[in-house]
């Protein structure tokens, strides 16, 4: 397990429509400790997805450093697992082969990588779906596959880009609870991007509020784990933290 460091990260790009240079990210510095779960929350357009795409290596950064375990990142790589809002499963592969894809890229033999994939599918309650194709699953099940596909590759850092934004509210709460349960077991370093304040607080050890490409504030979340929505909704501490984060986001 390794930590993630952003040092004076910035992103400037040329907007061909307005003909001007746009500063999407100004000077963001952030430390995610090894095994820490950090949520980044902010209004749309605040640059949170841009930051994630730069960390994942999908987008070059203009200035500053991105370090995983102290080493600068260059392009996409298996040390950083990504869970996408659109799931981004391979429609032409079975659920099992989707999850086994990462280990396959690492050169793990078929029997071994299928064993790994089955273990992760079992964690997510998807053992029955192993032989099915993604199109045959509900959105919630597809994203469960998306999460364990990233985890099965044993990444140093797990990057999650509004992963539960496109499933219905009930399923979302279940997925959030499952994520805290799986995370309690694996203790990955996680950077979780969301615009949902409740989600950010519910999941994280620490919530970072982002605005206009800057870090506005950070709020520690000391709620006990494992977390359940039934408890959280009754917990005055959860209410207080959510209100505090919401206030920051609205001020953003």
């Amino acid at each position: 397990m390794k930590g993630l460091t952003l040092r004076h990260l910035s992103k400037t790009y040329f907007d061909p429509y307005s003909g001007t240079r746009v500063d999407a990210i100004h000077d963001v510095s952030l430390q995610v400790e090894a095994g820490e779960f950090v949520s980044v929350v902010g209004p749309s357009g605040c640059g949170k997805t841009t930051i994630l795409n730069m960390i994942a290596g999908f987008l070059p950064h203009s200035g500053g450093d991105i370090l995983v375990g102290g080493k600068p990142v260059k392009g996409p790589g298996p040390d950083r697992g990504v869970v996408f809002q659109s799931f981004a499963l391979f429609p032409w592969k079975t659920v099992l082969d989707n999850v086994a894809f990462g280990p396959k890229m690492r050169g793990v033999a078929r029997a071994e990588r299928e064993k790994i994939a089955r273990e992760y599918l079992a964690i997510a309650g998807l053992s029955e779906a192993a032989g099915r194709y993604p199109s045959e699953l509900s959105g919630g099940m597809q994203q469960r596959v998306g999460v364990v596909r990233a985890l099965a590759n044993d990444p140093d850092v797990l990057l999650m880009d509004e992963p539960f934004a496109s499933v219905d509210a009930q399923t979302r709460m279940t997925l959030q609870e499952e994520l805290t349960r799986i995370w309690a077991e694996k203790r990955n370093t996680v950077l979780f991007i969301t615009h949902d304040v409740g989600e950010a607080v519910f999941l994280a050890d620490r919530v970072v509020v982002l605005t206009k490409g800057r870090v506005l504030d950070e709020i520690k979340v000391g709620l006990p784990r494992p977390r359940k929505w039934d408890d959280a909704n009754k917990d005055p501490e959860f209410q207080r933290l959510s209100a505090q984060v919401l206030e920051k986001v609205r001020a953003a």
């Binding site: 990504v82 981004a88 429609p91 032409w92 990462g102 045959e136 990233a150």
Partner: protein, 257 residues
């Protein structure tokens, strides 16, 4: 299974009506057989040409040309389309050529093809290659561009290298469009084949039609036309459709037709 039979029955129905009309209504009128044959004459012509082996010879020659030309075209077009799909430089350079030659693809090449390859197999296979190559290239390019960026990024972040990217992401991702390209291209090829065979060969279905005309043998012409249509339906139903069912339909990438 029952649904399949029902679909097939509905598909056959209009043909059955036409055949019935041909068999029972046309004989009531005195139609000049030099203009249109009776069904019985066509059946007789089929029996004759099957017995002396000429029909098989013509069909065989046509099918071999289509198979060779199409296979060559697909083998070259898919890699080119994918290369264009991943490289803006290649795409920018090739696209104008693609547009230019896709208009010419088909029988416009017959005169020069016969000069290059002589009459027969070479020239006709070249025509077919042309008909298929450009449309499959274009559709492959289109297919690659429809693969969502997150899916490609997912593969990269799971550690996929260029070769894996090609075989496990780009190729299957572009497959729905590639199949569409092959289907359209084969349709063009099949039509181009008949036209080319009328001019540039001495065997094949197109040749059979054209020669029969010289002898006013409308029953042979109509037989040839029926064979051409039936063969196409068989290629479509027995080769392309099962291929689609086993891949892109199974993956949920297209709706079942």
């Amino acid at each position: 299974m029952r649904r399949r039979l029902e679909t097939t029955a509905w598909f056959m129905a209009p043909f059955a009506v036409i055949l019935a009309a041909w068999a029972f209504v046309l004989p009531l009128f005195e139609v000049n057989p030099r203009l249109f044959p009776q069904l019985s004459q066509v059946i007789e012509a089929a029996r004759e040409t099957l017995a002396d082996g000429t029909l098989i010879q013509h069909v065989g020659a046509s099918l071999v040309r289509v198979a060779v030309g199409t296979t060559l075209a697909i083998v070259l077009a898919v890699p080119l389309g994918i290369a264009m799909g991943v490289s803006p430089v290649i795409s920018t350079f090739i696209s104008p050529l693609l547009r230019f030659f896709s208009v010419l693809a088909g029988i416009a090449w017959i005169p020069i093809a016969t000069l290059w390859f002589g009459y027969g197999f070479g020239a006709i296979t070249f025509i077919i290659f042309n008909a298929v190559f450009f449309i499959v290239t274009y559709n492959t390019l289109l297919g690659v561009s429809t693969i969502p960026m997150p899916v490609r990024n997912a593969a990269l972040s799971l550690g996929a290298g260029p070769l894996v990217m090609l075989t496990e992401v780009l190729l299957p991702g572009a497959l729905p469009n590639i199949v569409t390209g092959i289907r359209t291209g084969l349709g063009f090829a099949w039509r181009g084949l008949i036209a080319a065979e009328m001019i540039a060969t001495n065997v094949g279905l197109g040749y059979m039609l054209f020669v029969a005309r010289d002898f006013y043998r409308t029953e042979v012409i109509v037989l040839g036309m029926v064979v051409i249509g039936v063969l196409w339906l068989l290629i479509d139903r027995l080769v392309l459709a099962p291929l689609e069912r086993a891949t892109i339909e199974r993956w949920g990438m297209v709706q079942r037709a």
